[in-house]
Amino acid sequence: MLAKKSVLGLFPEGQEDMAADALDALREEGYTHSEYEIITGTPYPEGTFGEEEPKHTLFRWPLMGAACGFVVGLVLTSGTQLAYPLVTGGKPVLSIPPMSIIIYEGTMLGAIIFTVIGIVIESRLPRLFMGAYDERITEGYIGVAVTTDQDRVGKAEEVLKQVGAEEVKRGWES
């Protein structure tokens, strides 16, 4: 299998239309959405560049975490009290109101931790190799990166130049 090569076109801040045109031109040349991506230093409203809407399943993560946290909280509170049945203040060993407090906190903690894990995984992080990237992107430049087969990367570079990219960089391999 041939190694994939990347090319990055940089568009100055405020040239959102030009970056969107670059994506249109790439589509016309037969590049698929798995081959190109837009990289920005600030969040833009979805679809600004005509890019496909990213799909995610983040909403499942807190539910999974909450379920795990609930079970851990329940086992912890009931298990420890049954293992060490010390009666205090005439209250039952398994007293629902205080148990519910710990179970509630466990449920919420589980939901939060799983959500954070979900955010990291669904964002495709951590990423050891940056791939096509330029430090000017966090200064306002809009990057259009194309990662494709070695024999098609030249055409992508040409397209990016044609639509008016201020600079086109090559050199990443994956």
Binding site: P54, T80, I119, L125, M130, T138
Partner: protein
């Protein structure tokens, strides 16, 4: 926001990373002074550990003194930090942008400060870990019916949740620091911290969803934590004034009052110390002051209700407690200072537009609120315990010792030091949020007027 300065991303980076990539001249002397106060407090703590709790002013019947007052105070401050951030995110309030990060970070350091004092207060802090279920060998487990097990579970949940919230919202800004750093080791450090963030539409979308989702998850924890703190009091048998049915919401709204004030105070300090006046505008102060008027008045309503419920029953011990709080020295003086600084000075002042839009007056009034709210906790805790027993020979008094005062001062220095160290490593205003606000801002003309407006998805 009617007033704004339109800036490009390069300028925003330069302005908001000024404290990270450079060092303001006041920063080092302030950090050194605060470090000295922190170490003095820790020295006092070491002395207390060596000599025992006898070096404090705690004595029968007042076993909850400055330490617990301070605990409730810092829990309160911590609450509104994340609460204001979460609610403003959920409601997509435009003026949230420069405020959220500082509020969230203050929550984290306030929670750490809050944890100091009960850990010190127990007398034998090396056994603090007994609240965690760890001992599989002995089979001795914590008693979950005790509020002192509820507290650590709630506060730790909140601390972990808030810290993760701060971290997730920091990732895009860490990438900005990574790209601006000159030193190779600094670059590597921030590359690791930002997990290789690039800024793809997928990452931005998840960042937006994360803000909403984590806000929605942290808010119920925020409500539970201060409720549980109030139950530390409410479940104690035999202390007048601690059993009001409105204690949980009263504590929560008190926390919001002091916490939102602390956020406004931070905003004013940001303008004064970091020269962030291009980002924190008079409009932002105006918005938070309007919110404070509502919060303060709601808090005052709960305070009033608590007194009505206490006095309406005409129960002797309750009346005696209230008389002690209002008419006996030194509580009478503290009560007047509390009510005047927590409500009667700041709220009428916030009615004036010139005060609401002034960083200086907002700083003064919000400091006053927090002086008042610290005293509120003192007046709830100490007089209640003084007359805990019906037999007069069991009545007592309380004078904080220098050891307690130094430890309390340490918590204030700790929070300030934590914020300053954070500001040296990470931006206190979220860059990506500000940039998004600038990107989505447009101006349109109506007649002869040009009005700035924000486009929202």
């Amino acid at each position: 926001m009617l007033e704004h300065v339109q800036l490009d991303q390069k300028t925003i980076n330069k302005d908001l990373l000024g404290g990270v990539l450079g060092t303001p001249s006041w920063w080092l002397p302030t950090v050194l002074f605060l470090t000295l106060v922190v170490f003095t407090g820790l020295g006092a703590f070491g002395y207390m550990m060596n000599k025992g709790l006898g070096v404090t002013g705690l004595n029968r019947p007042v076993f909850w003194g400055f330490f617990l007052v301070n605990f409730v105070f810092w829990i309160g401050i911590s609450h509104a930090g994340i609460m204001i951030s979460a609610i403003l995110r959920l409601t997509q309030a435009e003026w949230r942008r420069p405020v959220t990060r500082a509020a969230e970070v203050m929550t984290v350091f306030s929670l750490m400060a809050a944890l100091h004092t009960p850990l010190f207060h127990v007398g034998r802090p090396w056994r603090d870990f007994w609240v965690f279920p760890y001992d599989f060998a002995r089979g001795v487990w914590p008693n979950v019916r005790s509020p002192f097990v509820w507290d650590p579970s709630a506060v730790m949940t909140y601390l972990i949740g808030s810290s993760l919230f701060v971290f997730i919202a920091l990732i895009p800004d860490l990438a900005v620091v990574r790209d601006r750093a000159k030193n190779v080791w600094v670059k590597r450090l921030y590359s690791g911290l930002c997990l290789g963030w690039r800024g793809t539409p997928r990452q931005w979308k998840l960042q937006a969803v994360a803000g909403i989702l984590l806000s929605a998850l942290v808010l119920p924890v925020f409500v539970s934590v201060h409720s549980i703190v109030s139950w530390d009091f409410a479940v104690v048998i035999g202390v007048e004034g601690w059993h009001s049915t409105i204690f949980a919401p009263y504590f929560i709204i008190g926390a919001i009052h002091s916490g939102v004030s602390a956020v406004a105070m931070l905003m004013a300090l940001g303008v004064w110390m970091w020269k962030l006046d291009k980002y924190i505008r008079p409009d932002h102060f105006d918005a938070i002051a309007r919110l404070l008027i509502v919060v303060a008045t709601t808090w005052f309503f709960f305070f009033f209700l608590e007194w009505v419920f206490a006095l309406y029953t005409l129960e002797g011990p309750e009346i005696v407690l209230r008389e002690l709080q209002v008419f006996q020295w030194p509580y009478s003086a503290l009560f007047i200072v509390f009510i005047v600084t927590a409500y009667f000075i700041p709220v009428p002042m916030w009615m004036f537009k010139s005060v609401r839009r002034s960083a200086f007056w907002m700083l003064i009034t919000t400091i006053l609120v927090n002086v008042g709210m610290w005293l509120e906790r003192f007046i709830i805790i100490i007089p209640g315990l003084l007359r805990r027993q019906p037999l007069t020979f069991d009545w007592g008094t309380y004078h904080p010792s220098i050891v307690e005062i130094l430890i309390v001062a340490e918590t204030f220095a700790f929070v300030a030091l934590g914020m300053l160290l954070f500001s040296k490593l990470f931006p206190l205003i979220p860059l990506f949020d500000i940039k998004e606000g600038m990107t989505n801002r447009r101006e349109f003309k109506i007649g002869r007027l040009t009005i700035p407006a924000t486009v929202r998805e």
